[in-house]
Amino acid sequence: MRVVLISSHSGHYTGGVKEFEIEAQTLHDVIRVLNQRYPGLGEHLEEETSVAIDGEIHEVAYYHPVRPGCEIYFIPKIEGG
């Protein structure tokens, strides 16, 4: 699956790399794989981003299933008025 980091702070951990191909079963797995590659990135994603899985926006949570071939975007968290 394609994983894209939109949060601008993500670049501090990845050296500017924004796109990844990852195989995983859950969002927890995605975060763990990214954190293994870029230590500290996992905490950033957990605390400071929302996630869009195939366009559906969720707060980041471990249990979200991710299907093979899906698109995952970690995006800035949105709040309203």
């Binding site: 869009a52 926006i57 249990y63 968290k77 709040e79 309203g80 008025g81």
Partner: protein
């Protein structure tokens, strides 16, 4: 966990979508509702706040000795009474909290950064003594040059609010400090190639004035401390759990040592998602040993609480002759006020979101200036960028000779359309709002002399997140639903409806309340149009747990297995092999035997709700412009919004009407007016002109319902997107009436008159 979706196909809804009597109505109209200012305790003191007379000044010294010596004064506080906070941005980017900033906003430290900035506070036995004590506090200020306008604040020689602030979001970081707190950029496609392929390009620049949310109830808080160091607050806010967390942090307390009671709220619109008086009342109470109440005046609200940003924007859009959008570029500069944190990121994400445009760049600047720190305001950021984008869209449609609605429909996003921030849209709904206005009789109605018609559209994310709810079955079979969501827009009614619908009982048998922070699980703020979606899911989940328990109790009464009982139409009913053995047993009958079958019946559910679907709105505005005075009269206004599904229909219609009216005020009248010294000149509703009923026609609402499959009843959210298109719709109508494009809000009579006389056609 996310709630499982209840399939809606074939679902017969009895109460959802109706408009039963709202539970908060009678207390409010009879004056019995208790707002933050209505609470009092024995031995209570009155708090008062000393505010800065300067827009920008260094604080050399504060002498409170004379105030402390005044008989009746029990406590005086300054910034020294609050612990210093670490300088770090905590939390998500758009709403990242920096407690170093927050503690300085509630009480100035090294400098005052805007007129009205709190400098000290007093608690005394009467209001008069507290006010007198403020006059005895001596503050030695060193006045500094100030800057308010966003373009002026971005100049290299502008007075700096923070001498060490380096712009974030630029790599490598700038070598010199500035007032630009942050730069944001989103891109898709190839912008240059996109514009090169365009047959027509329209570019325009815009400015918008900062405006206040204009809630009727000023901020107020009552605080008391026990001798064991635990604090208790009564406060009207949009999120008492956030009030608890922020206040505890600024006072260096554990969250669990602060209990916040939700008061009734007299409007918020985003402006009550932050704290102002709460930590001051709490600190005064802790220091004095008495309960302390602080109430803001209207002048305080205008001068010291968060309005939304003023802005400066440039938008360029390229199109093919057949109406296909090929490129768009936007630069959005927002006033953050005295501390970083404007909603410019939302603006950059929302502005072009309604459209399928292959090549887009969207750039934002968050800029500090000597005004109160901005706070959220109804779809924060989106109305501002929409004013620019939708004005240019109107001009593009005119340039290529297309109907403005059909032009939008041609380019409307749908499921699968990429967004500038990356993901593809996952929901439809926008095209349906355009079609609703196209089909509305107003779109074909004739116009008279000096009259014009404008249309515009808008996007807002809506939101989900953490919510908690409990459902308890009373002894008589009535039900109490408690949530942690402050009710600013009808959530008690909508929660009661969803509970009644799920349980299969009457609406009048459900009482919905808002519980305090010790009585319900964490619940995020009432904002982002999230409550009916997220808290609604929690309520339905709790009801489903109660139904499981009710079936088990009925099974025990009937000596059946739990699996042999189902719940239908508010009754337990034998099923399977037991079907027909007993008459259905209503909830009241099950409740009557609760003690015999195991005791009280109730359940709690907490969710982190995902899958919120965005809101789209398309609006039509008819105006008449007086060519002699420049006055603009709103003749007709139609708002079509995709709400997913309306739970309480008239409440949802009210949300649409309210958002439009606020947008009309933003378009025509509202603005902060400053003198050369940075003093606000119109800090009251006589001079800060919000629309009143006599200014307006009846707003015509069209509820478009494209259900969200991620909510048990299809809810998307209704509270915010209605304001997004409004200013552009008015501007486009004025342009249609006088052939002049106004690009500077508010479009007040002097500006309209100047445009008429300018000879420059839009």
């Amino acid at each position: 966990m996310d709630a499982k979706v209840i399939k809606q196909e074939g679902q017969t809804l009895k109460i959802v979508g109706t408009s039963p009597v709202r539970p908060d109505g009678t207390p409010k109209v009879t004056g019995l509702a208790r707002y933050g200012a209505d609470f009092a305790l024995p031995g209570m003191l009155w708090g008062a706040i000393l505010r800065s007379p300067h827009a920008h000044a260094r604080i050399r010294a504060i002498d409170t000795s004379k105030a402390r010596a005044l008989p009746g004064v029990k406590a005086v506080i300054t910034a020294e009474d609050f612990p210093e906070q670490k300088f770090e941005f905590v939390g998500p980017e758009r709403v990242a909290v920096n407690f170093w900033h927050m503690t300085r906003n509630v009480m100035a430290r090294e400098k005052v950064l805007y007129e009205g900035h709190a400098v000290a506070a007093v608690a005394a036995t009467s209001k008069a003594i507290a006010e007198e004590a403020l006059r005895l506090i001596e503050v030695d200020y060193e006045p500094l040059p100030h800057v308010i306008d966003v373009d002026a604040a971005m100049q290299p020689d502008a007075p700096l609010l923070f001498e060490d602030m380096i712009t974030r979001g630029i790599d490598p970081p700038p070598g010199k400090p500035s007032n630009i707190a942050k730069r944001i950029e989103f891109n898709i496609g190839d912008l240059d190639a996109g514009f090169a392929a365009a047959d027509e390009i329209v570019e325009m620049s815009f400015k918008t004035a900062p405006v206040h949310q204009g809630y009727i109830e000023p901020h107020a808080c009552l605080a008391r401390f026990d001798s064991n160091g635990q604090g208790e607050l009564w406060s009207a806010s949009q999120g008492h759990f956030v009030v608890r967390a922020f206040t505890a942090r600024l006072l260096n307390m554990n969250i669990g040592d602060v209990l916040v009671h939700p008061a009734e709220i007299g409007g918020g619109f985003g402006g009550k998602t932050v704290i102002y008086v709460e930590p001051l009342a709490a600190a005064l109470s802790r220091k004095s040993g008495h309960p302390v109440k602080i109430m803001m005046s209207r002048e305080d609200v205008f001068k010291a609480t968060g309005p939304t940003s003023g802005s400066s924007m440039t938008v360029r859009i390229g199109v093919k002759k057949d109406g296909t959008l090929v490129a768009a570029d936007g630069v959005f500069k927002f006033q953050a006020g005295a501390f970083p944190g404007s909603p410019v990121m939302n603006a950059t994400m929302c502005g072009f979101a309604p459209y399928d445009i292959p090549n887009v760049r969207s750039v934002g600047y968050d800029v500090v200036s000597n005004r109160p720190k901005s706070a959220a305001y109804r779809a924060p950021g989106s109305p501002i960028s929409a004013f620019a984008v939708e004005s240019v869209m109107d001009a593009v449609a005119a340039r290529i000779g297309m109907d403005p609605l059909k032009f939008r429909l041609l380019n409307a996003c749908k499921t699968g359309t990429p967004t500038v921030w990356g993901p593809k849209h996952a929901h439809d709904g926008y095209a349906e709002t355009i079609k609703a206005v196209l089909a509305h009789p107003a779109y074909a109605a004739p116009l008279g002399k000096n009259q014009g018609r404008g249309v515009a559209s808008g996007f807002w994310f809506n939101n989900g997140g953490e919510s908690s709810a409990t459902v308890h079955v009373n002894e008589d079979g009535t039900v109490v639903v408690a949530t942690g969501s402050m009710d600013i827009g009808g959530s008690r009614a909508s929660m009661a409806i969803m509970a009644a619908e799920t349980l299969g009982i009457e609406y009048d048998d459900v009482r919905a309340i808002v519980a305090d922070t010790a009585s319900i699980g964490y619940t995020h703020v009432t904002g982002g149009s999230r409550v009916t979606f997220a808290t609604g899911i929690a309520v339905v989940e709790a009801c489903k747990k109660v139904i499981v328990e009710l079936c088990a109790r009925a099974a025990m009464i009937w000596k059946l297995e739990p699996g042999e009982v189902v719940w239908e139409n508010g009754c337990a009913k034998p099923a399977g092999a037991a079907a027909g053995k007993f008459e259905p047993m209503p909830l009241k009958a099950v409740a009557a035997k609760r003690a015999l079958t195991g005791g009280p019946i109730g359940a709690e559910a907490s969710v982190n709700a995902g899958g919120a679907a965005p809101g789209f709105a398309t609006e039509l505005c008819d105006v008449e412009v007086d060519p002699e005075t420049g006055s603009v009269k709103i003749l007709r206004f139609v708002v079509a919004q995709d709400v997913g599904r309306a739970i309480h229909r008239s409440y949802v219609e009210g949300q649409l009407e309210g958002g439009v009216v606020q947008g009309i005020g933003w378009a025509l009248n509202e603005a902060y007016i400053y003198d050369d010294a940075g003093h606000l000149l119109n800090a009251g509703f006589l001079d800060y002109r919000i629309p009143v009923a006599s200014d307006l026609p009846m707003i015509e609402t069209v509820l478009v319902e494209v259900p969200n499959p991620n909510h048990p009843y299809g809810v998307k959210g209704a509270g915010e997107v209605n304001i997004v298109p409004a200013m552009a719709a008015v501007a486009n109508a004025i342009n249609n009436a006088i052939s002049r494009r106004l690009t500077d809000l508010p479009m007040s009579p002097p500006k309209v008159l100047a445009a008429i006389h300018s000879g420059r056609k839009g």
